[in-house]
């Protein structure tokens, strides 16, 4: 009832009272939310998060190539040498309907010619990926997965990734394979696992 008395004297005082009340409540709000959010900050390791593809879930639908915010997607094909069979007839290198086994473009599975190979010894070839040419379309990954050991896989290349607050490919990924991971797992590799 104290406020009622003040109305008749001066409305400014009542307004002032509400303003102060508001200030105190807002200050309390900052402390409460800030404090609660601070408990969600976990200190172990570095707390930075990076987008990565879980290659066990990836189905090579091709959206990584088209939906990244970068003009050329930050997703690249990676090669786990220790899983690779080093075959001559490579499912990730030649098309299934290749007429001749040579490097003519119509026989290659990679549309940008990013997969190169080097003769090691009979009958083995070492395959490497030119990251400047690769655009993350995943065609070779599909080929290697269906006719080979599955040593090729798609992954986000961290020096190209802008690390958007919400990865645009993750929102269209058909299998939910893209998620935030801590720094220690910044590259989910096939040969590491």
């Amino acid at each position: 009832m104290k406020n009622d008395n003040q109305i008749s004297n001066s409305p400014i005082k009542r307004r002032d009272f509400f303003r102060r009340l508001g200030t105190v409540m807002a200050g309390g709000g900052i402390l409460a939310v800030g404090g609660a959010a601070a408990t969600k900050v976990k200190s172990e390791g570095t707390a930075d998060l990076y987008w990565q593809i879980d290659h066990e879930k990836c189905t090579q639908c091709g959206r990584c190539e088209t939906d990244c915010v970068m003009p050329v997607s930050a997703v690249r094909c990676f090669h786990a040498n220790k899983v690779c069979g080093y075959c001559d007839l490579c499912g990730g290198y030649y098309r299934t309907n290749a007429k001749e086994l040579n490097t003519a473009a119509e026989n290659m599975i990679c549309p940008t010619g990013a997969i190169q190979r080097k003769f090691v010894e009979e009958p083995y070839f070492e395959y490497t990926i030119d990251y400047d040419l690769c655009n993350g379309c995943g065609k070779c990954v599909k080929g290697c997965g269906s006719f080979g050991n599955g040593s090729l896989f798609l992954q986000v290349k961290q020096d190209l990734c802008l690390n958007c607050n919400e990865c645009k490919i993750s929102t269209v990924c058909v299998s939910g394979a893209i998620s935030r991971v801590p720094y220690e797992q910044a590259y989910k590799m096939k040969d590491k696992a």
Binding site: R19, G22, T23, M25, A26, I30, V33, G34, A36, A37, A38, K40, V41, K42, T46, A47, D48, L49, Y50, T59, C61, V69, M70, P71, N81, K82, V83, G85, Y86, C87, V120, E121, Y124, E126, T128, G145, S146, F147, G148, N149, G150, K157, Q158, D159, L160, C161, L162, N163, C164, N165, E166, T171, V174, S175, G176, R180, P182, Y183, A186, Y187
Partner: protein, 412 residues
């Protein structure tokens, strides 16, 4: 199918090399963000410090103009916008519901520091530290004032945007603030064309009227306005008596300086009491109505969640197995997830949407109610006064106020 996929691996044995071949050692480009993160926070604090100093000590706009340019160059074009304070709302909300998500300390600081500054000094962040606001300010040439009705109606949008952003973050659906960011494409010089065009339209509008994004869209601005309206220190146009010349009113890009007003209608005590009582009736009604509407609409809202969309696709496929299989459904079957598992997660999302959607609806009712109440309030003002909630602390009125300029000259 899953077992089949597993069988694919090591179809060919690891070769026995006889020529002494060594497996190549790869070093993959590592993200080097930690250093930048620290620099980001330092830049944020530094720029906000400069703006505060310019507002309270120097009382000129000049330094704020320069921080705008630095902010556009650094936070905008160089750092390319992620993570920003506007988007950080979602990360903080997400961290509360998702235990597996580790809230980076930088994100928390980007969320809290502008709020703390708003609580102490007003919306210093908006003035020239936020690259979005700075960009709009720099292209602003002329201030055509929108009618009170239009700007009043549009100013509800930021609140709705904030509430929906929180709803979709808390239900782990999407970060809609990031999804519909109109300026990021401009800063990154590429991206979604629709959004770049939207950003360009906003910039074109801000040539003729101050900061359309900040006033009518920005959800973080809505959040900051709560704190700046009750801030501990307040910006004053001039420290000398106001001569009611109207110049500051015309200079304000966000039209938040209120003209002197003589409240002529005398209200009896009884009428006043009745008015307050009607507020207390209308407000809960709006809150309940909003909550009820959003509760009923929660199922539709949940369609934005990937699990819900997937559930509908799978159900459609189960009902009609001969129909065309979508890529998502194909991925679902190849992963070997069971339909029971999907149904459980679908149900979980539905429950989340029911709870958070109802709360969001209540908040929407509250916001609309408070806006209406605010419209009905008439205050007597003897001089030009800043309405602090919307003041973005740009300092333009300092340059226009003849009283303030006089003071500046004396100091020189």
């Amino acid at each position: 199918m899953k077992n089949l996929l597993l069988a694919f691996v090591s179809r060919f044995p690891r070769p026995d090399f006889e020529s002494g071949y060594q497996y190549p050692e790869y070093t993959y480009a590592v993200p080097n963000e930690v250093l930048w993160d620290t620099l980001d926070v330092i830049m944020l604090l530094l720029l906000m410090g400069i703006v505060t100093w310019a507002l309270y000590k120097k009382r000129t706009r000049q330094p704020i103009f320069w921080t705008s340019i630095v902010s556009i160059a650094y936070f905008g074009f160089f750092r390319e916008g992620c993570v920003c304070s506007i988007g950080s709302i979602q990360n903080v909300a997400y961290a509360f519901v998702e235990d597996s998500y580790r809230l980076p300390i930088v994100v928390l600081l980007f969320f809290l520091i502008p709020i703390i500054f708003a609580y102490l000094f007003g919306r210093v962040f908006c003035a020239g530290v936020c690259p979005f606001g700075a960009l709009q300010d720099l292209v602003n040439v002329k201030n055509y004032r929108l009618s009170r009705a239009v700007s009043g109606a549009l100013s509800i949008i930021p609140w709705l945007y904030l509430i929906f952003a929180l709803l979709y973050a808390l239900t782990r659906t999407r970060f809609i603030i990031c999804q519909f960011d109109p300026f990021i494409g401009i800063f990154r010089l590429g991206g979604d064309w629709g959004l770049i065009i939207f950003g360009a339209i906003l910039l074109l509008m801000s040539v003729f009227t101050g900061r359309p994004f900040c006033r009518f869209l920005c959800p973080y601005g809505a959040l900051l306005s709560i704190f700046s309206s009750v801030s501990i220190w307040k910006i004053r146009i001039t420290q000398k008596p106001c001569i009611t010349c109207e110049l500051c009113h015309n200079s304000c890009p966000v039209d938040t300086i209120r003209a002197p007003y003589q409240h002529k209608v005398e209200e009896s005590h009884r009428q006043g009491v009745m008015r307050v009582i009607s507020y207390f009736v209308i407000l809960p009604l709006l809150v309940v109505a909003g909550a009820a509407l959003m509760y009923m609409g929660s199922e539709n809202l949940s369609n934005a969640h990937r699990e819900v969309r997937l559930y509908h696709m799978i159900m459609a496929h189960e009902a009609d197995p001969d129909g065309e299989l979508t890529l998502e459904a194909e991925a679902f079957y190849s992963q070997g997830r069971t339909i029971e598992d999907l149904t459980a997660s679908y149900q979980q999302v539905q429950d989340d949407f029911k709870v958070y959607g109802t709360i969001a609806g209540a908040l929407i009712g509250l916001v609309v109610g408070l806006k209406l109440i605010n419209l009905s309030l008439k205050r007597t003002r003897k001089e030009y006064e800043i309405s602090y909630g919307n003041c973005i602390a740009c300092g333009k009125c300092f340059e226009y106020c003849p009283q303030n300029r006089k003071k500046l000259k004396i100091e020189d």
